[in-house]
Amino acid sequence: MKKNDLIENQEFEKMLKEKMNGLSANVDCFDKIAARAFPDKSEDFSDSELTVNELENITGKRRRLPVLKWVSAAAALLLVAGVLPKTIMMSNLKNKLMHKQDKKVYRELISEIKSETENGSYTVLDMPLDEYISNDVLITPFYSCPFERSSKKDMNVRLYIRTVDDVWTNQIYAVEYKGEYSESSIVAAASSKADFSDKEIEQLTNKQIKNVSSIAGMAAVSELFTADGNSFIDENGAVVTAADFSGTIIYKSGDDICTINFDTLYYHNDAKENGCYYYDIHTDCYVDDILDNSFIIPENDWKCSVNFNNNDAFPSSSGSAFERAQLFSDTNTWVINDNIFRIEPFAKSNADKILTDDKKLDMFLTLQTVSSMPFEPTAEISVPEYKAFQKTTSVFFPTTIKKNEYLDDIIIMAGTQFKGYTVFYADQDFKTPDDIYSTMEFDDLRYEAQLLEAMINIHGSKFTDDQLIDVKKQLSRLNALISEYSEDERISAENHAQLQKQAESEEQQRMKAEKTADHKSDQTVTR
C-alpha cells in the first residue's frame, strides 16, 4: 500500500510541477533584469512601483480620444464645483470672467507657473486636450478644462497640481501646448484662484488626514439600481455599470482652508453607444479637523485662462462627456443594501499590467473554464494616469451575479489576453458591506453609528418602511461590531479620542494667537 501511496505522491508531484512549469514558461524578463543589473544609460525603473514620483510626466504618450462606453473613477484632481450642470457652469463662468477676469498677461502667468512649479511640490499630469475636455470629471472632478477644443492636431494639456505631503490642493495651473512639451510649444495657460502661501503649506505639512469613507458610493449604487442577473439595471430597466473613486483635497477659498474628502460616483447606460456618463460627488469638509458640511465649495474656480496673444482662452461651452446628476441621497448616504459587491481592481494589481493599450480596464465574468476566451467584457473602465487614485477605484457588481459553473466561486477577471489577467474571487476580493465595516477602526464605527442614529432621528419620517428597516439593520450591524471591541480597546480608543480633541483644541488656540499676533504686526507695519 505504501508503494501505491508513493507512486500516487510522485504522480501528483509531477502533475503539480508540470502545471507550475507551464505557468513559468511564459515568464520572460531577462531583458529587464539585464537592464537593471547592467544599465547602459539611466533608465526609468518605475516598473518596480516603489518609486514615488510626484512628477508623473507622460509627455509623449499620445492617446486617441477613446469612445468610452462608460466611466469609472480614478481620481485626479480635486477642485470644487457646485451642483449646477456643466453647461450652465461654463456660461456662468465665462460671463463672470468677462467682467471680473484678472487681466493677467500671458507672459506673467507663464513666469509664475515656471517659478511656482520649480520651487513648490507639484503633481504633473499630461493628456491630450480632447481627452481632458471629454473626461474632465475623471481627471479634475471639480473643474472643467479651461481651454477651448482645438481643430489642430496634437494639442495637449499639462496640469500642475500643488501638493502637501502628496495630498492634492486646489492650487492648479493648466498649460495647453502642441506636440512635445516645452516653453516654446505652449499656446495657452490658466491658473486657479487658490494660492497657498509657503507658511500655509508648512502648517499643513504632517497634518493628519482622515480616511475617506468608502460607504457613500456603495450605498448610493445599492439604492439607485436593482440587481438583475449579472448586472445592475436602472429604474427604466436599462443595464448600467457603476464605479467610484475617492480622494482628499486640501481646499482654499478666500482665506479659509478646509480638507475635503470626496467620493465620485459614475455610471453609464451600457445600451447607449457614445452616451454620456452620469456622475455625482459626495463631499465631507473638515475645517480645523471638524466636520463642517456647511462649507460652500465654489464651482470651477479658475482665476484666468489666456492665450499667447493675451486673449481669453476659456471655452464657450462644455465638451464634457459627464452630466451631473443627483446620485447621493441627502437622507440616505449610509445604508448599503445586501444586493451589492465591490471590487477594487487596483488594490492588488499594478494598473500597467491589467490595463489595455488604450488605458482601459476590461473586466470579464468567467462562466466556464477559460478555454473559450476571449470573453465579452462584463465591464469596461477608463482610468486616469495618476496611480494613487487608481488604488481607490471600485467597480460594483450585483450579488445575483452567477458563479462559475465548474467552480464554487464567482470569478471576475481583469486584464488582457496578451498582458495577463488578474482574477478576483467572490469570497476574497469582493467587498460586501460587512467587509467594509469589519475593516473600520473603533472611532470610525462609532462615528458611522452616530450618523445613522442622527439620520433616523432627523429624517426617519421621510423613510419608507423598508428603508427604515434597512437603516436599523445597518445600525445594529455597526453596534454589534462596536461591542466586539474589548473593554480595554474601547477605553484606549476613547482616551485616544480625548487626547486628540485636546490636541485639536490647543492647536486652534495656538492658531488664533498666531493670527492675532500677525494682525497686530500688520497694523504696526501699516502705521
Partner: protein, 200 residues
C-alpha cells in the same frame, strides 16, 4: 531564452508556448557557485543562472504571492539582487539554496507591500495564455487549502525539487517538521484534487 510564446492575431485565443528544457540543466554545485560569483560582472553568467533557476524562483514566488504578475516581478528582483551580491563563498556556499532564499525573501517582501492584510488567502492574477490562466486557477484552487508554510514546502519539494534538508535550511525549520508538514499538505492536496489512495 528557451521559451517562445506565440499568439494568433485577430482575437482568436489560440496561444501556445513551446520551450526547450535542455538549457535548464541543474548544473553542478561548483558551477552554480562560480556563476553566482561571476554574475555581478558577467551578463552571460547571470543569463545562465536565470535559465537554470527561473522556473524554481517563479515557483517559490508563486507559492507565496499566488499572483502571476507579482511572481514575475519577484523573478526580476531576485536576479537583480543576485547580481549585486558581493560576497559568496565558492567552496562553502550552496548556490541553489542561496538563490531560492533570495527569491523567498523577495516574495515575502512584495507580498507585504501589495497585500493590505497578512492573511493566508490567495490573491490571484494570472497568465498570458489560456492554458496558463487555467493552470493558474487550478493551482491556486488547490493551494488555497494549504497554509502559507505548507504551500512553500510543497512548491519547493515538487517544483524546485529540493530535498527536505535543503528546504529546512531555506525555511529555517527542523527537517522533521518540514517532512511532516509536507506529508500533511500532500494528503490535503490529493484529497482536494480527487486523487484517492488505497489505505491499508
Amino acid at each position: 531564452m528557451t521559451a517562445d510564446t506565440n499568439f494568433s492575431a485577430g482575437g482568436d485565443s489560440i496561444i501556445f508556448a513551446t520551450f526547450s528544457q535542455n538549457s535548464r540543466a541543474s548544473g553542478t554545485i561548483g558551477e552554480v557557485n562560480q556563476l553566482i560569483i561571476e554574475c555581478s560582472t558577467s551578463k552571460e553568467s547571470l543569463c545562465r543562472l536565470y535559465e537554470m533557476f527561473k522556473d524554481n524562483v517563479f515557483a517559490i514566488a508563486f507559492s507565496i504571492t499566488a499572483d502571476y504578475h507579482l511572481s514575475e516581478d519577484c523573478v526580476t528582483e531576485t536576479f537583480v539582487r543576485l547580481s549585486q551580491v558581493k560576497k559568496f563563498s565558492h567552496t562553502k556556499g550552496d548556490g541553489k539554496g542561496f538563490i531560492l532564499t533570495i527569491a523567498r525573501n523577495v516574495a515575502l517582501e512584495l507580498r507585504r507591500r501589495y497585500k493590505r492584510e497578512i492573511t493566508d488567502d490567495i490573491i490571484q492574477s494570472y497568465g498570458e495564455t489560456e492554458q496558463t490562466v487555467e493552470d493558474s486557477i487550478y493551482i491556486n484552487q488547490l493551494l488555497r487549502y494549504l497554509n502559507d508554510k505548507q504551500r512553500q514546502i510543497v512548491v519547493l519539494k515538487c517544483c524546485a525539487e529540493l530535498t527536505f534538508k535543503e528546504i529546512a535550511k531555506i525555511m529555517k525549520a527542523p527537517e522533521t517538521t518540514i517532512k511532516s508538514r509536507y506529508k500533511r499538505a500532500i494528503a490535503i492536496l490529493q484529497e482536494k484534487a480527487g486523487v484517492t489512495s488505497e489505505k491499508e
